[in-house]
């Protein structure tokens, strides 16, 4: 028990000030490996940008979607230069803020894409991991759970691993070389997570509004962010307490207010509300059925018109639906809830790309302590690797060779999403199981002293 107490005290020592000093210390110690990593990542991207593969990659449907293709951004800006609204026709589906951002940097696109999304993302993830606090976990640990707790030494390399997982992930590299604006969306979400974990409700609300403004799905991240702040401020999540409602209303006010302000500003950029049907109408009603790695295109390609509205509603509700049960289950673990939500958005959104997949995969090293409870990790990694390899093969067979058809590509899409879902649910199971062990002890014994096994019901 004393050993346990010692460890607990060391864990509890991570109060705000000490933690901050600690994190700065850690950050400086890791500056050298981080810089090395950055140099390697930038080199890889630079090499790919200059090679002939850049053209090929920016055409791939797995990497770009109608929402974030660079070709369409250029087209939209060209239309703007010709005096036509970029939202006329079905070309451009970016928000007006993107127009403003790219208006100046369109010639230096490569550098912009290399620098901002990936760097911002990795830096924010880096700092995020540093700030993850495990002191908020429960303080009644049974004696044999020591091996479950993470020592600071283990946690030392997690930020570097997170940065590495993101920067050197082939999905990210492909997405960056294709100059897909998915990287920018990822950067905004990463900044949002950083601000949430730092505790600044204002910035977090504003960045969440910005992320929602970009694509609507980060709306579901409102719940985990709210839960995190409530936990941080020690407000119990009780619907009858006025303090709960007070803070919720504050946060919701910041969020909705900034969303309104951002939307209003976008109106003033072009002077019209064209962007709303072009961006949000496009995301919701899925008119473009170009194949991608998602689940929408095949269904809606073969659907009768009079069922279309019904199934659009079903599919879109499917994205938002998991928020409520997951929030109820994971209300004490909002950081993991953020991870789950991001994963669910990446799988079920209407136009997913591999950039979205890379977004939640970067988070995985933060849960490396769950490895011992993961049950399907071999299967999942094989499935994901095989599917990633088969995507271009079956595309070629379908479109160019003509000896396959859309069913082949759809099968691989299904399998890929199945692998992702299995990965996410496996981590969920592992997390819950670890929580269970933390409260009930690692080596469970039945009443008569023999070893018990844990069964998922």
């Amino acid at each position: 028990k004393t050993v346990c107490d010692l460890n607990l005290s060391s864990v509890l020592m991570n109060s705000n000030l000490v933690h901050r000093a600690d994190s700065f210390f850690l950050a400086t110690k890791m500056a050298a490996p981080l810089t090395l990593l950055l140099i390697v990542a930038v080199t890889i991207r630079a090499v790919l940008f200059r090679s002939s593969w850049a053209e090929l990659i920016s055409e791939r449907v797995e990497v770009v979607s109608p929402l974030n293709a660079w070709k369409r951004v250029v087209e939209g800006l060209a239309l703007l230069d010709l005096g036509v609204s970029p939202y006329s026709g079905d070309v451009f589906h970016e928000t007006p803020f993107m127009i403003y951002l790219f208006h100046f940097v369109v010639d230096y696109a490569e550098i912009v894409f290399m620098v901002s999304p990936d760097l911002v993302f990795c830096l924010s993830r880096f700092l995020t991991s540093l700030k993850q606090k495990y002191a908020l976990e429960s303080d009644r640990y049974p004696a044999d759970c020591l091996e479950l707790l993470r020592s600071p030494k283990e946690m030392f390399y997690i930020p570097l691993k997170v940065a590495m997982f993101y920067l050197l992930n082939p999905f990210t590299i492909l997405s960056c070389v294709a100059k897909s604006t998915c990287g920018l969306n990822n950067a905004i979400i990463a900044l949002f997570i950083l601000c949430t974990l730092k505790g600044s409700a204002l910035l977090s609300g504003i960045l969440l509004a910005l992320a929602t403004y970009q694509s609507i799905y980060p709306l579901t991240l409102f719940a985990p962010a709210l839960l995190f702040f409530l936990q941080r401020l020690y407000i119990p999540v009780n619907l009858r307490r006025s303090s709960f409602w007070f803070f919720t209303l504050q946060y919701a006010f910041i969020y909705v207010g900034s969303l309104v302000v951002i939307t209003g500003l976008s109106f003033f950029l072009l002077g019209s509300w064209d962007f709303i049907p072009s961006v949000y109408g496009f995301i919701f009603s899925v008119p473009d059925l170009t194949p991608n790695i998602g689940l929408f295109w095949y269904f809606f390609a073969e659907m009768f018109e009079h069922f279309r509205l019904f199934f659009i509603c079903v599919f879109q509700i499917n994205v938002f639906f998991y928020t409520i049960p997951l929030s109820i289950k994971l209300k004490e673990h909002p950081v993991f809830l953020i991870f789950m939500q991001i994963a669910i958005i990446s799988i079920f959104k209407s136009y997913p790309t591999v950039g979205d997949v890379a977004l939640y995969m970067a988070f995985l090293p933060a849960w490396s302590h769950l490895y011992r409870f993961l049950r399907n990790i071999f299967l999942v990694s094989c499935v994901l690797l095989a599917c990633s390899a088969l995507f271009p093969v079956l595309w070629h067979l379908w479109i160019y060779a003509g000896s396959a058809n859309s069913n082949f590509y759809y099968a691989i899409t299904l399998l890929f999403n199945f692998g992702q879902i299995l990965l996410v649910s496996d981590y969920f199971y592992a997390y819950l199981r670890r929580e269970h062990h933390l409260t009930h002890g690692l080596y469970l014994k039945k009443k008569d002293g023999t070893e018990a096994t844990l069964v998922l019901k």
């Binding site: 127009i99 208006h103 204002l202 910035l203 500003l265 003033f268 950029l269």
Partner: protein
């Protein structure tokens, strides 16, 4: 005296011969000119696609082959094949379509001209070909340019049922539509006589609604019966022909352009012992007796030759064109091709590219907000660290 008698006898014999020959001549001439047609057309349609319907394409191509052999030129044949068997990926003998097993007869050859291919074979296109209501841009090879002195052979094959024929596995033509199309053809005088042959299951149902004159119809099976396929070829892997068309092809191979085989022989092709189904025919709308209708009236293009003993003078001079007067006062200087159009006036100068700038209000508002948020988060006291 005997010399005169001999001469008289000779004259009598000669006149008798002449009379006899004349009579023969009139009957043959009667036959020649009583059919009333001057040109022949054929519309041959295969309505099924996919590899396992190889036999329908082979059916159509064997009728095409016979019709071409007997003299109808490609310009008078509208051949509609719904799928390409010769160049199908699954064809182990590419560029061939066999009608007999063991590759005895390749009906594809190297001079097949398909007018409607693949997805162009639709009910709409078929009816448009028959009625002539095609868009003006349709080429001549895709039109049925028949007139009121044309004998038309129409051959359909594919999958059918009681009262319909299936096109391309996605649509159908009904017997009423077909009958109405023929009535339109009759109203517009697009045929003299029409022979309709159909080789599908329950094919007789397709001609039971005809109501226009001068139509004769044959079908491979009665209502309620299926037309069966003939031989599979194990090397190619599919059935090569349907029974009815197989025996029809055998019958037509015996026919040559001068043959006198008539329709009654055609009705006897493929009795039930050979075909399993009962072929049917309909002649009540036809004016002539089927026994007097030659096979080559429909399947061949037997040219009517009229021997004349008059001479036609071909050496009369062609009149020179009349010179136009009074057109020499306006002298138009000759223009080169480039100068014919005042290009500079037509094409405006490209307007200078006006770059789009975001409105100032927007920039102001955005950066004010960003600064506000920054100071709110970090506090103003940090300013002195920055500066």
């Amino acid at each position: 005296m005997s010399h005169d008698l001999l001469q008289m006898h000779l004259k009598a014999v000669i006149s008798c011969l002449v009379i006899v020959l004349y009579k023969v001549h009139t009957t043959k001439a009667g036959q020649f000119f009583s059919s009333g047609h001057t040109n022949n057309w054929a519309v041959l349609v295969c309505t099924s696609r996919f590899w396992f319907n190889y036999r329908h394409v082979a059916n159509t191509l064997s009728v095409y082959r016979s019709v071409k052999r007997l003299g109808i030129p490609d310009s008078h044949i509208v051949l509609m094949l719904a799928d390409d068997m010769a160049c199908n990926y699954r064809n182990p003998k590419p560029a061939t379509v066999f009608s007999h097993k063991n590759m005895e007869l390749n009906v594809y050859g190297d001079d097949v001209e398909v007018d409607y291919r693949g997805y162009e074979v639709t009910v709409e296109n078929f009816l448009r070909v028959l009625t002539g209501r095609l868009p003006p841009s349709t080429p001549r090879s895709k039109r049925l340019l028949s007139d009121d002195r044309s004998n038309i052979l129409i051959y359909l094959t594919g999958h059918g049922g009681n009262g319909f024929l299936k096109f391309q596995d996605s649509e159908e033509i009904s017997n009423m539509e077909l009958a109405d199309a023929f009535e339109q053809m009759w109203q517009k005088r697009r045929y003299n006589e029409l022979l309709f042959i159909i080789d599908t299951c329950q094919g007789a149902s397709m001609y039971e609604r005809f109501y226009s004159p001068n139509l004769m119809a044959l079908a491979s099976s009665q209502v309620g019966e299926d037309s069966l396929s003939h031989q599979p070829d194990l090397g190619i892997g599919v059935h090569l022909m349907d029974k009815y068309t197989f025996y029809l092809l055998e019958f037509l191979e015996e026919v040559h352009p001068a043959s006198q085989a008539n329709m009654n022989d055609l009705f006897k092709v493929c009795p039930q012992s050979q075909c399993v189904s009962t072929p049917g025919h309909r002649t009540d709308l036809f004016q002539r007796d089927p026994g007097s209708v030659l096979i080559t009236d429909f399947f061949g293009s037997v040219r009517k030759v009229e021997i004349t003993k008059d001479t036609i003078n071909l050496t009369s001079p062609v009149e020179p064109p009349i010179k136009r007067s009074g057109s020499s006062d306006i002298q138009i200087e000759s223009l080169t091709y480039v100068d014919q159009l005042p290009v500079a006036e037509i094409i405006h100068q490209k307007p200078k590219q006006k770059d789009w700038h975001p409105p100032d209000g927007f920039i102001l508002g955005l950066w004010t907000l960003i600064l506000l948020v920054f100071f709110q988060t970090y506090g103003i006291k940090h300013l002195k660290h920055i500066f």
